[in-house]
Symmetry: C2
Subunit: 319 residues, 2 copies
């Protein structure tokens, strides 16, 4: 297949995805409809559906790839709705967070509605191994998010906890998107494992880059002021290094949740000066390289190249 | 089977249920463990597991009945955790609501954790029709809860909305408990339909009684002051009749959410005086009768008798 044909296939897959999503989340309850509109029109980058498409294309024909993309995206959307309470996010995909418009209650329950629609899709797909895989990803997602809350509340900062959190809250679903395609394709174990590894490592790099930019990015790129994680007491890989290197100064900044004028700027300075920033960029690069390495198990194809390109994009605009 | 043997079977089923529940919800994340303890030790009446047991016993042997009971109870428990945000409940099963101890965030995400464990159970049971049935019940549950919120927010009070709400928030899961057993037993359609009808009607009567007592019950029976629904702007069958009969006076009480001294007492008086209370008791009795009628499709058994007795209990302590 030529790259041009391939790109057209991706476009039509994503168009079909948007159309089906709109139908799947439709409810007779008006308040759910409001959330639904927010979700459907807000769009987002649809990273997970793209992963499902590319993983499927790399394997050849995969039955129910569209339904898998919908199921994964619905778990993701539900987690955004449930996680808005924690994050106290002022913006989410550039729009006012749903819970500010319609209240926490409707947000949480609409998230439950999306999860019920995801279960209906799984029943329709009719693959019990995929049900188990989704259950496992959803378990890691919720555990990762609770752990993040617990670590912030109790100050249990460690690299091990950070790794568990980013795997749970981001990488687990990316892995599901890729591995799920392999399950539906009944792919050989080596291909399934390769895609699972790719999804997990790519997801980790993705979240590490997000966390990096949360501190080091400009507010224009972020669409919100830098340092959001510090204000929520969330330690990321970069601030973990800073806490080790400057326990007193950075510890004090964390205890006051970066509330003093200049706190975030000071963390940025220390990150550059101590080379903590550089180190984290290096760690992301390694994760991207491992992800690409995992793909070597799959036969060369336009889709595999695209997965590689997707992973490499995590290295852009970091340094 | 004698009634004595039968009661022993129920006891051992419930004991096995508690033990498995403890294992199923176990998590390495400490904060989830706190919620879990609350849930496991708090117990509750386990109405849904009882229904699964009785429906299964009425059908003969049902594979995976215990796993079905766990799955249904986990959806119910998750909904309690997610619904605590709405209800602003001061007590839940006589204990401080989980979210007051550990925060809304942990509560919501721990609910998601329970839902993921429920999906894992479904994968283990391995029956795709049951996955579809659970998805449908979970959809109605979330839709019913959002609708309740919407109706309170917009004042869209009607009997039709009330019926949809009680079916969604309570009866759908009761129906799942009974119909799910029939699906696992591969029971004849007539038996499946009979159990589905019984579960739905019993669940409706159950919620109608709950709503009746919320206004008319003593605070000792309720374990909280009467009139909680009024304070949340929730119209139930009884207050719906009062709004029709005394639009100005009762309308004013609802608009101020029963905040004035004597408001709840006045509603109680009007309910007795206008016979609205009596009418609702009558409606509950009809629902119970229909539920028992549905059971007639099943062969007579100790389990069927117990289901009947369970339904009749909804008529106790009302008048």
């Amino acid at each position: 297949m030529s790259v041009k044909d391939f790109t057209q296939d991706l476009e039509s897959f994503l168009a079909a995805f948007e159309e089906r999503l709109r139908k799947v989340v439709k409810s007779e309850v008006e308040f759910i409809g409001l959330i639904e509109e927010d979700l459907v029109t807000a769009g987002g980058k649809r990273v997970r559906p793209r992963l499902v498409f590319l993983a499927s294309a790399a394997l050849g024909e995969v039955p129910h790839a569209l339904e898998l993309a919908l199921a994964v995206e619905l778990i993701h959307s539900a987690s955004l709705l449930h996680d808005d309470l924690i994050d106290d996010a002022e913006t989410r995909r550039g729009r006012e967070a749903a819970f500010r418009k319609y209240g926490n209650a409707v947000s949480v329950l609409s998230g439950d509605y999306l999860l019920s629609r995801q279960m209906a899709l799984l029943a329709q797909i009719g693959n019990l191994e995929l049900v188990a895989l989704c259950a496992e990803a959803a378990r890691m997602l919720s555990e990762g998010e609770v752990l993040q809350f617990q670590v912030a509340a109790l100050g249990e900062y460690s690299l091990a906890n950070y790794e568990r959190i980013i795997h749970g809250k981001t990488a687990a679903l990316m892995q599901l998107a890729c591995e799920g395609a392999a399950v539906l394709a009944e792919a050989p174990l080596a291909h399934r494992e390769a895609l699972a590894r790719f999804g997990a490592l790519y997801g980790q790099a993705f979240q590490m880059r997000d966390d990096y930019l949360d501190l080091m990015g400009s507010s224009e790129v972020l669409g919100k002021p830098a340092g959001g994680d510090v204000r929520e007491g969330k330690v990321t890989r970069i601030t973990l290094r800073l806490l080790e290197a400057y326990p007193e100064e950075v510890g004090a900044i964390f205890r006051r949740r970066g509330r003093e004028e200049g706190d975030v700027r000071r963390l940025q300075e220390l990150a550059q000066q101590s080379k903590a920033a550089e180190e984290v960029i290096q760690a992301i690069a390694e994760r991207v390289e491992q992800a690409i390495g995992a793909l070597r198990e799959l036969p060369r194809s336009a889709a595999r190249d695209q997965l590689e390109a997707l992973a490499k994009r995590e290295l852009v605009r970091l340094s």
